[in-house]
């Protein structure tokens, strides 16, 4: 009986792992875009690198200390940002491959902003599991720049709130008493 249980668990584990939604997006290489861009920022921080970075953050420095707090529980930070010399040198289709992933179950659109003034569109998605944010995705498209940010792990919105003032993070007026589920996101079915 015990052997049967172990065998069943061994068989079901990969199935269950595949069934659980992943907060990590599959980001294209954007190689064509990189060639056209005048500036590019490509950051890939997996759990090992995040742990290593955490060891080199100075706890006595307020900015480093706040960063350390944010890093706790994170499994990865992925950034792709490309700046061009001409307006809309990139195609929206390039971003569609990423947007399509955000329509998968588990992702909730937290915010969608369209600015005529700056001609910038910013979409923020969040993945919630057991009433806790476990992933964040941000897609910002401006005339001469587009940026994709994917943060994987236990995102503490309270700690993000405390980052206000550091790195120029704006006051988002996040209500600390509200749970992420009550932030009226738009769920994708």
């Amino acid at each position: 009986m015990r052997k049967f249980t172990l065998l069943l668990a061994a068989l079901l584990t990969p199935v269950l792992a595949c069934a659980a939604p992943s907060a990590k997006l599959i980001l294209p290489s954007f190689s064509t875009m990189q060639q056209k861009a005048s500036e590019s920022v490509v950051i890939t921080l997996d759990p090992a690198l995040l742990g290593l970075a955490g060891r080199f953050l100075d706890g006595n420095d307020p900015q480093d200390a706040a960063t350390k707090e944010v890093l706790k529980g994170l499994q990865g930070i992925y950034v792709r940002s490309y700046t061009f010399d001409k307006d809309f040198a990139y195609q929206q289709a390039d971003l569609d491959a990423v947007r399509n992933q955000l329509s998968a179950p588990g992702w909730n659109r937290l915010m969608e902003t369209r600015s005529r003034k700056s001609r910038a569109d910013v979409d923020i998605y969040i993945m919630i599991d057991n009433n806790q944010a476990v992933g964040l995705a941000l897609i910002a498209s401006e005339p001469r720049q587009f940026t994709i940010v994917n943060i994987v792990g236990a995102i503490d919105l309270d700690k993000l709130h405390k980052l206000e003032g550091q790195f120029g993070v704006p006051k988002l007026d996040l209500d600390q008493s509200r749970s992420p589920a009550a932030a009226s996101p738009t769920p994708h079915k």
Binding site: L52, A53, S118, A120
Partner: protein
């Protein structure tokens, strides 16, 4: 004639006690060592070649290990500082885009002029 010669020889070769200075000089030379006297001294035992080779090998291994550890530590430090820089850059980019969203929300939620005047 032979008796005379014999007696002369006996007189010339009679044993004579050495002077006090002679005895002291001799003892001093024995203790200090006369540089003019070549004294054979026992040479120290020569270490075999195999010992020297083993010692050189061990020293090389230790030195190589130490250099490797030092380089490893240096690489780790460089990687850590680079990772720290990337984390700060990632958060800076994230905050910039959040600011963009915030400004869009702020401009949309700003009251219209008609609302201000109550018209």
């Amino acid at each position: 004639m032979s008796n005379d010669l014999e007696s002369q020889l006996k007189a010339a070769l009679r044993p004579v006690a050495p002077r006090q200075e002679f005895s002291e000089k001799l003892l001093a030379q024995v203790v200090l060592g006369n540089p003019r006297t070549k004294v054979r001294r026992l040479a120290p035992a020569r270490l075999p070649l195999a010992w020297w080779l083993s010692a050189s090998l061990a020293a090389s291994v230790l030195l190589g290990f130490g250099v490797h550890e030092h380089l490893q530590e240096r690489r780790m430090q460089q990687s850590g500082l680079e990772a720290r820089r990337e984390v700060l850059e990632a958060l800076r980019v994230t905050s910039q885009k959040l600011q963009l969203a915030y400004e869009a929300v702020k401009s949309q939620s700003a009251p219209l002029p008609d609302e201000k005047t109550g018209a």
